[in-house]
């Protein structure tokens, strides 16, 4: 415990000052930071190569393709009913939502429509897939910024939704439930009451997270003002879904696109946020999950009776033509451009997946951010690797 003399203190300050001068004069060398392919924030195998100047990202490159499965080629050697099995695996957290635009596109070419009950149940499972998918995100995003508990809550409550999906479709993750002209099965007995209880529980979960995460000062500090996507940039990159609604673009294909699905019959609201930052993206998704639970409730009450399958030939041939159908999937706009030449399978099937475009904005977005913010931005953009690589 020696007392520090004034002279010593002065010498210390002088050294500091001279070192600071040297630092200013010296060019710091760029460092390359490899994030991934195996990083928790990448939900799979996405690699971000960031060139750093100190803590700041000078340049970022995104490397994908570690999970490329060539689905567009594979669809060309399968029949239409077989393709749904494949596309279940694109965005694996909300598989049913993948099937819908493909089936709708094929139905558009065949000029058939499923009966009203089937359309209701399709929309029902579409929204339940959204709840299961985004519900997990709500916990996962908190995990990325260092809060462990919400992730457990999310896994716990998502399981109830998955149970309901499994009870009706037979598959937790890959229902393969949608058929050309209808559905595989009708709902089992007692399912509606159970699902109503689950929706109530999900709303409680949303309230819980609204206080625990969105209302958390640490979370806000990490996310507010980070990774701002201006609306114009986002649209030019094709960023869609909650990501673009968080930039103040009031656009939701469920409301804005004519669809045989029944969103138009429901009373609901499109949520937007003006900020465009990571927090806004989280907040919009949180509201959307809650909104979806209300939509599910309405559909359960208004479920029409009747058949769930339109009459289709047993050997399905889709008339020649081209059709494009896109829907508002949990991750954003997903669409299928099907080119048919009248055969049993598609001649060409372009899969437009949401995450691919959402992630393509990253090189632009990461420039000038700081290393800890990379994680927040990646987490808040919310992508599924299968949805990028296809």
């Amino acid at each position: 415990m020696t007392a520090v003399t004034d002279r010593q203190r002065l010498a210390y300050v002088n050294t500091q000052a001279s070192e600071a001068r040297v630092n200013v004069e010296l060019q710091t060398e760029d460092m390359t930071l490899n994030l991934g392919p195996q990083h928790p924030a990448t939900h799979g195998t996405l690699r971000v190569v960031a060139k750093l100047d100190g803590e700041q990202v000078v340049d970022a490159d995104v490397v994908c393709g570690y999970m490329h499965r060539g689905y567009e080629k594979l669809t060309e050697v399968r029949t239409y009913p077989q393709v749904t099995t494949l596309i279940n695996r694109i965005d694996w957290l909300s598989s049913f939502a993948n099937e819908v635009p493909f089936i709708l596109a094929a139905e558009k070419l065949m000029e058939i429509e499923a009966p009203p009950r089937a359309q209701y149940i399709r929309t029902l499972f579409f929204e339940m897939a959204r709840i299961a998918n985004i519900g997990l995100f709500l916990g996962e995003m908190a995990l990325q910024v260092g809060a462990l508990t919400p992730a457990f809550y999310a896994f716990r409550d998502r399981e109830f939704v998955l149970n309901q999906i499994e009870a009706a479709t037979g598959g937790r993750f890959h229902p393969n439930y949608d058929r050309l002209g209808g559905l595989k099965d009708d709902l089992p007995k007692g399912w509606i009451a159970e699902t109503q209880a689950v929706m109530k529980r999900i709303r409680e979960f949303c309230d819980e997270l609204e206080g625990l995460v969105a209302g958390n000062i640490i979370f806000e500090r990490r996310c507010r003002g980070v990774g701002v996507i201006p609306a114009e940039i986002g649209k030019a990159f094709g960023v869609s879904g909650a990501n673009i609604r968080a930039s103040g673009v009031d656009w939701d294909l469920r409301r804005d696109e004519a669809s045989p699905l029944v969103w138009k019959d429901l009373d609901w609201k499109v949520w937007t946020h003006p900020d465009g930052d990571s927090f806004a993206r989280y907040w919009v998704r949180l509201q959307e999950v809650r909104e979806s639970t209300f939509m599910v409730d309405q559909m359960l009450e208004g479920l029409p009776a009747g058949s769930i399958q339109a009459k289709v030939p047993r050997i399905i041939k889709v008339p020649a033509g081209e059709a494009w159908v896109h829907t508002e999937n949990p991750l954003g706009e997903m669409g299928f451009y099907i080119v048919s030449q009248g055969g049993l399978g598609p001649f060409r099937c372009k899969i437009r997946s949401a995450s691919f475009n959402n992630v393509s904005v990253l090189p632009w977005l990461l420039k000038g951010t700081y290393v800890p913010d990379i994680i927040t931005i990646l987490a808040s953009l919310y992508f599924i690797l299968g949805d990028i690589d296809r």
């Binding site: 009459k311 050997i315 008339p319 020649a320």
Partner: protein, 274 residues
């Protein structure tokens, strides 16, 4: 780039007029989409080769040298602020990409036809040929909506988040040297899509900032989504999923018909045993 032909020479002249292939006005005219096409036509002049409006969608085929101008016009004049996707199509009739399916198509044809008669009561399937039906090019290849006269086509989908109208642009590319101007400077999102289309179809995009592999390893040879690229898994082993398209045993058929709740059991009787 080769100079554009003085006129739309190779378009199948038999059934399609050279200027604009309009949908026959059987339905109420889609004025909103027609306006899009008109404005694009005034912007591009004779570089707009064909347009089709059908089923609430619009296709426009432009000359490849006007590709960049068309994209820019869509953004600046038509208000297409949202980039949806860019991709390609290879119209080559695939040699045998799917022999199993082709076989079944032949042998299943009888069964399907026999079954067809009871169908139309439920649905008027014999509707007039939709305008979106593909055109048959001069050399016998089938090409898609809005026609086409080369093997490769590049495809661009744009959308307006304000008016909620979308447009599909197409351009024919040269068979041997398919290339077109990059539109990455018009739509930022086209960057990755062009990289993907380049590695999958081998289309060149002039002026693209970094045309590098996106999905495939950099030493990969060939262009997987071209029709002449063999899918080796299928060559080694026939697709086992073929059982899916076998006919359902007759014993089950009645049950299924009843479960579907569709029509009377008439189809079954009209179905001769295979």
């Amino acid at each position: 780039m080769e100079p554009p032909p003085s006129e739309v020479s190779r378009l199948s002249s038999a059934d399609t007029p050279t200027a604009e292939v309009e949908a026959p006005d059987e339905a109420p005219v889609d004025t909103a989409r027609q306006a899009l096409v008109d404005r694009l036509a005034s912007e591009l002049g004779d570089a707009l080769l064909a347009s089709v409006i059908d089923k609430g969608d619009v296709w426009v085929r432009v000359r490849p040298d006007a590709w960049h101008a068309a994209a820019r016009a869509c953004r600046d004049t038509l208000g297409m602020d949202y980039f949806c996707f860019l991709s390609g199509i290879d119209w080559m009739p695939s040699a045998a990409p799917n022999p199993e399916v082709a076989d079944v198509e032949v042998e299943g044809a009888e069964g399907d036809d026999a079954e067809a008669p009871p169908e139309p009561e439920a649905e008027p399937e014999a509707a007039p040929e939709p305008a979106a039906a593909p055109a048959v090019a001069a050399d016998g290849w089938t090409t898609g909506v809005a026609g086409g006269d080369t093997r490769f086509q590049v495809l661009l989908r744009l959308y307006s988040t304000a008016t909620h109208l979308g447009i599909t642009l197409k351009a024919d590319l040269d068979d041997d040297d398919p290339r077109v101007t990059s539109i990455a400077d018009v739509y930022g999102g086209a960057d990755w899509h062009e990289r993907e289309t380049w590695e999958m179809f081998g289309f060149g995009f002039e002026g693209h900032p970094n045309l590098l592999h996106l999905y495939l390893p950099s030493e990969f040879e060939g262009f997987p989504l071209r029709k002449d690229f063999p899918l080796l898994a299928r060559e080694v082993k026939p697709w086992p999923g073929i059982v899916d398209v076998e006919l359902i045993p007759e014993s089950l058929e009645a049950k299924l018909e009843a479960a579907a709740g569709g029509g009377p059991a008439a189809p079954e009787s009209s179905e001769p045993a295979e």
